[in-house]
Symmetry: C2
Subunit: 262 residues, 2 copies
């Protein structure tokens, strides 16, 4: 507990009394206690997650989101997790299940393409031995090729990504892998030159998710829908890097894929 709450004994007592009585109705129609005390015993994490799991987020700038390299070795801290979807999803899990002993890490690096993940995969994935590994990669594989800064194609992306997943499955056969769909919003740096080619990268990521029986987080579908309620730049000013609203929406859907339910 932080020093902010230890001195607040009334607060603590009141909260305990709150928890005894609080109930909510679930989608399934039953009544369960929403008591945080019950919810957090560590054995009832849903979906892919279980108590004591190590969760690793890997990817590019969207995952990196300004994380501190200095504190990267300590799990669960905002500084080391950045300010993007990985932090928000991680924080929501940690707050939901504080007694589950989760260890959440972020090793996203801005600008990365698949082959750059591969170069640092031993230390920054395999050695961490995640129980749950989430990967979001692909926008730079396309974008840097479009800019002429990288001789990549969708075939190379798919081949490199498949190799990375094979290597991971071989080294860590029990690790549950979540594949996140690369996505863009049509604004900022994202213009007509991106289409239809960029869509092939998305399709490749889905193909690989199916091959490896990995849950797939369909971020492009999600953002396409979100355009009904706010313009593209609200979700990602430059079309690539999500705003805080975009990151929140991503975290919500990542949790649906990783932890089940809403």
């Amino acid at each position: 507990m932080s020093e902010d709450s230890t001195s607040n004994s009334f607060n603590q007592v009141t909260r305990r009394s709150f928890l005894k009585t609080s109930t909510i109705t679930l989608a399934a129609g039953g009544l369960i206690s929403s008591s945080y005390g019950k919810q957090v015993k560590g054995s009832k994490l849903g979906g892919l997650l279980a108590a004591n799991d190590v969760v690793l987020f890997q990817g590019d700038s969207i995952t990196d989101a300004g994380r501190s390299r200095e504190t990267a070795s300590k799990p669960n801290l905002q500084a080391g997790l950045g300010s993007g979807y990985a932090w928000l999803a991680g924080a929501e899990l940690l707050v939901d299940y504080p007694d589950a002993n989760l260890s959440i890490y972020n090793r996203g690096i801005s600008g990365n393409k698949v082959h750059q993940l591969a170069e640092r995969w031993q230390v920054e994935c395999l050695d961490i031995k995640p129980n749950v590994l989430s990967i979001l990669i692909g926008v730079n594989d396309f974008w840097h090729a479009l800019n002429g800064n990288y001789k990549g194609t969708v075939e190379i992306y798919e081949k490199d990504y498949r190799e990375l997943l094979k290597r991971t499955s071989k080294a860590l056969p029990k690790t549950k892998i979540i594949i996140c769909e690369p996505f863009v919003l049509r604004c900022g740096a994202v213009n007509d030159k991106w289409f239809l080619e960029f869509d092939k990268y998305r399709a490749a990521s889905k193909k690989l998710a199916d091959e490896f029986k990995a849950p797939f987080v369909p971020f492009q579908t999600i953002f396409d829908r979100a355009l009904n309620y706010a313009p593209p730049a609200h979700w990602a000013g430059d079309g690539v890097y999500p705003s805080s609203s975009g990151a929140s929406l991503m975290a919500h859907h990542w949790l649906q894929a990783a932890a089940g339910g809403r």
Copy 2:
């Protein structure tokens, strides 16, 4: 659909093929389709929510969050919903259930106390006839009294709030009411003078939730836990108004209370 995606037929076709095959494992142990097509038929909204519902967020600045008054009469748009937890929770519902025909409104006004909600309640709540009404009020009832700008007490807060809830239940007996706990972070404007008195306002909100059998969103508990992962100012710079991370965490827990499950 926005103009951004209508021209992208490859995108659409690919997405449909994605949806046919995507499955996720739920906490309950069963396999359900995560197909967005299936998820959104409008009849399977969980918890308090059903297809065609009108959802209204009421409160103070934390709910207001810079919403546009000009577009307030149009539901579901970011401009009218602001940039806080109400918008994020609303957007997540809308994206999850685009065919459910939800109408989501925000009528939070910065600086409001309970008696100011009451003054505008006919037009800005009862006339809107919400099926689900979410209320977050109380921090100004305490803060403005602390500053000497309002002659309020916790007894007045509780009495005014109870009257408001009675009036609502009488006028709209079928409306489901969600009561959100007022909260603060110990930083910025929030110092030792706030405690233990502010805790009594939180306790009063919980007491009223129990009296009216309303789901209660325990935001103080949630933020107290969140302090294990980031300092108070990360969640609310002035101790009262949430950051984007704070708003995201609130939206996540509001959805748990309103829509059930994760």
